[in-house]
Symmetry: C2
Amino acid sequence: MTLTFGHIIDHLTKGITRLEQTVDKLEPGDPETGVQGIVTAFSASQSVIEQAIALGANLIITHEGVFYSHQPHADELEQDPVYQQKAELIACSNLGIYRFHDYLHRYTPDGIVEGLIRELGWQTYVTEHRPSVSILTIPVMKAEEIAEYLKKQLQIPYVRVAGNLTASCVKVGILVGYRGGGSSAIPLFDQESLDLIIAGEGPEWETPEYIRDAARQGRDKALIMLGHAESEAPGMKYLAEQLSAEFPDVPVHFVKDQPAFRVM
Amino acid sequence: MTLTFGHIIDHLTKGITRLEQTVDKLEPGDPETGVQGIVTAFSASQSVIEQAIALGANLIITHEGVFYSHQPHADELEQDPVYQQKAELIACSNLGIYRFHDYLHRYTPDGIVEGLIRELGWQTYVTEHRPSVSILTIPVMKAEEIAEYLKKQLQIPYVRVAGNLTASCVKVGILVGYRGGGSSAIPLFDQESLDLIIAGEGPEWETPEYIRDAARQGRDKALIMLGHAESEAPGMKYLAEQLSAEFPDVPVHFVKDQPAFRVM
C-alpha cells in the first residue's frame, strides 16, 4: 500500500477530538498523493521550501501559516511580488503543505511544548502540564545562567531577558509561541510562585513591564523571551523524530531556519 | 488662577474630535487638583512613579496603561503583590495619572510619530503622514547604517533587524508601537515601494517572515524593530517639551526608563 498525505494526516490527528474551527489544513495538496519524503519546519519559508525541494520531499508539515498570517492571507497580498514568487514556486514544485498547528497544541502534553522540554533535557523536572503552560521544578540556577543554557541547548544566538537576572530560579513556567502575553503569563508568577517564565513572545507592554516593576520592587523574578520560532521549532524537530520512527521507510527531515531577526 | 489637572487635559485634547471609546483617562486624580509638576513617560512604571515623587511632580502623563494592559486590568490582578505594592505607592503619593494614548495618536501628525521623527532629525524627509504610517524619502543609506544611526539618535542599546541589511534604502516607512504587524506593514512594501520599515513591535510570524522571504528571493528589503517603548518614548519626550513651552511656570520632566528587555 502506498503511504499517502492522507495517511500521514490521519496518523497525526488520530485520538484528538475534532475541532469545529481550525487553521490546520492541507493546502495545496491532495490527500491521495503518495509521500516521497517529509520536511517539518516552524514555517514554510522560501528557504524551507527550497530545501524541501532539494531534499526530494513532497510534503512540508509546517506549524505557522505559509503567507505571514495565522488566518488565511488577505486577498490584497495576491498582488504582492514576494507572495507571487513564493506561490509560483509552491505550485511548480507540486509540494503538499500541511499546516499542523491546532491539533499539535492539543496533544497531551502539547506536542510543541514537549519538543522544547526534551530539547532542554528537562523532562524529569516537569511537575504539571496544563493546556497553555508547563510548570517545572528545576535544580536551582540563576536566571542569567538559564539564559545561557537555553542559548546553548537550542543553538540560538540570543534571548531577550527582563527582571532580576541574578534571581535564583527553581519554579519555572514554560509558555511557547505567543503565550507570553500578560493575561496568560502574569497571573502565574503569584499564583504558582514562579521565579521565572520562559516564553516565545508577547506584547511588550504587558509581561515585560510587570517583571520590570517586580524587579524594581526588589523581587527575584525574571522573564526570558526565546522568540516565537525559537520556542516552537524544537516541537517540529521532535515531530520529525516521531514520524521517522513511525514510518521508517519515509525520509523525514526537520529543517531549521535561520532566525528571522538578528540583533544589532 | 491655579492651573489644574483638568486644564492640562483640556489643553492636550482640544481640537481633537471626541472619541466615543477611549482608554485615555485621569485615574487616579481629580481634575480640580492644582498642578505642582508634570512627568511624561512611555509607561508609569514603578521606577517612573518613584522618580516623579522625587522630582516633586504630582501629575504623570503616561502613554501606556499603568497595570500591564491596554484595557483596564483584570480583577484577578488585584491579589497580585506587584500590583498591590504599586497601587499602594500611587495611592499614598496622591499622584494623578493621566493615560494619554488615543488622543495623542490622533494629533495631525500623530504626536508620537512626530516625536520620533524629530528625535531622528528627519522632519524634512517626510513625504506623507497617514494615520498609521509616515513615509519618508531619505538620503540613501544602507539598512545596517540606519540601524546604527537609530541606536545612536535614540540612545538605545540594540535593535532587531531582518531582511537584507546591505539594502540601499531611500523610501522608508515608520510605524510606531504595535503597528509592525503584517496587515499594517506588509502591504506597504509593494504598494509604496518601501525599501525599509522601521517599527516598534508586531507578531513575529508576520512581517519578519515576509521580509525573510523577500531577502531570500534576492530583494533589497529590510525591517528594523526598535521595540515598542523605544519607538514611542520620543513622542512623550517631545510632549514634555511642548508642555514646558506652553506652561513655562510648571516644572515638566520627561522620564526615560531603562529598556524592559536586555539582550543576552
